[in-house]
Symmetry: C2
DNA sequence: TGAGGAACGGAATGTTTCGTTCCGTTCGAC
DNA sequence: GTCGAACGGAACGAAACATTCCGTTCCTCA
């Protein structure tokens, strides 16, 4: 029986700690997704660790929330980059939405806004995310697959709508979101009647990030 | 100059109190829509009254939340009844969604669930609401306007998605929701590719109302 | 193999938030 | 002119919560 000595050691105190890093962040994601005002103790309980395991890693609640949100932003960017690699313009657009909805990454960057002061690096990531989405929307629209009156900011509305769907079972939640997304994609494809009202503008959704109160 | 002596007198202590009834309920709606965990003092402040004006009317926070939710349920039913009067099957369905989205009535009955123990009367109203929606969906589907694989419970998903859209300005919020709803309606109309996954079931959305924890 | 300390669990603490009560005041009703 | 309904807001007590602290475990490294 060979003893595993690979790069990620499976036993030992350091390994346990490294694994806790991920466990805690995952628990925090689940907890704050469920209730943005949840106490920090709920995260510890969900992760199955003590409170000190949290404070060893993060300076405080705000630091945890910031890290969590930053992580979500990076996942968002990664999803957009992966989807952009798809050659078919519509598949790239639809695949992007599916990835983001499946990963439940949008609510993280939205419902936690205002609970911490963002870093400059997060600002850069947000700009990059916006550029990527803009590219995907542009491709699908230029290819004549996406209705021409859809703007980049509409994607935020879609994602927020999908993220609002939630049932106790995570798998079922994903299924229902996909179903909802399918309706949206059907409504997004050409042809269709013109959309009412002025389209959402660029500066219309960063109010969550502006100084609190 | 004739003196108004009609049924709702515009001056006097009683009249002021009667007006406060509505003011307080409206303030509570706005506050708890914005933050389901908001303190009661926030409602008083928003309504421009003291705290005692609240406690004169409601036994406590739970009583206020229950009343608020009950009120929302009644508005929901009223919207469904009004919409059902429309002869065109699709217009009835679409009009219903527009009314509920405009009145922002769905989030009230959803995000407040679990914060109070519901009354039997609310249960009856909920059943009635479900029957009405069922009727509207059935009409639109039987008329061949609504895609046949849409079930009544899908409406809950749509409404939740629309309600999740929120910007500081209420009017703009309504515009954006209408825009989002237009995409959804376009995706809901026949024809369209089949929707993925098993459709939502009847008992899949009352988990919010089941005993807390 | 033994000492040192990284990692941790969870009780303790101090503070803030919040629901509710209480009291003094106002002013229309009768 | 008197009574009390309606009210504003301070005061109170309890609960929630972020953070700190201390004792324990057990890997790590020499």
């Amino acid at each position: 029986m060979p003893k595993p000595t690979d790069s990620p050691p499976l036993a030992g105190r350091r390994a346990q700690a490294a694994r806790n890093d991920a466990t805690i962040l995952a628990a925090a994601r689940a907890v704050f997704l469920d209730d943005p005002k949840a106490p920090i103790a709920a995260v510890a309980e969900r992760a199955g660790v003590g409170i000190s395991a949290l404070y060893r890693r993060y300076a405080g609640k705000e630091d945890l929330l910031r890290t969590l949100c930053h992580d979500g932003l990076l996942r968002f960017v990664a999803a957009a980059e992966e989807a952009a690699a798809e050659p078919d313009d519509w598949a790239a657009f639809a695949g992007f939405l599916e990835r983001v909805v499946d990963a439940d990454v949008h609510s993280l960057t939205v419902h936690l806004a205002g609970t911490f002061t963002p870093t400059e690096e997060m600002g850069r990531a947000a700009v990059r995310a916006n550029e990527l989405v803009d590219g995907l929307v542009g491709r699908a629209r230029d290819a004549g697959r996406l209705r021409p009156d859809v703007v980049t900011q509409d994607v935020g509305l879609l994602l927020e709508g999908c993220a609002a769907i939630r049932v106790p079972d995570p798998d079922r939640t994903r299924q229902l979101r996909r179903r909802h997304l399918a309706v949206l994609l059907a409504g997004l494809a050409v042809p269709g009647p013109p959309l009412p009202g002025p389209p959402p503008g660029v500066g219309e959704f960063d109010w969550r990030w502006r100084p609190k109160q």
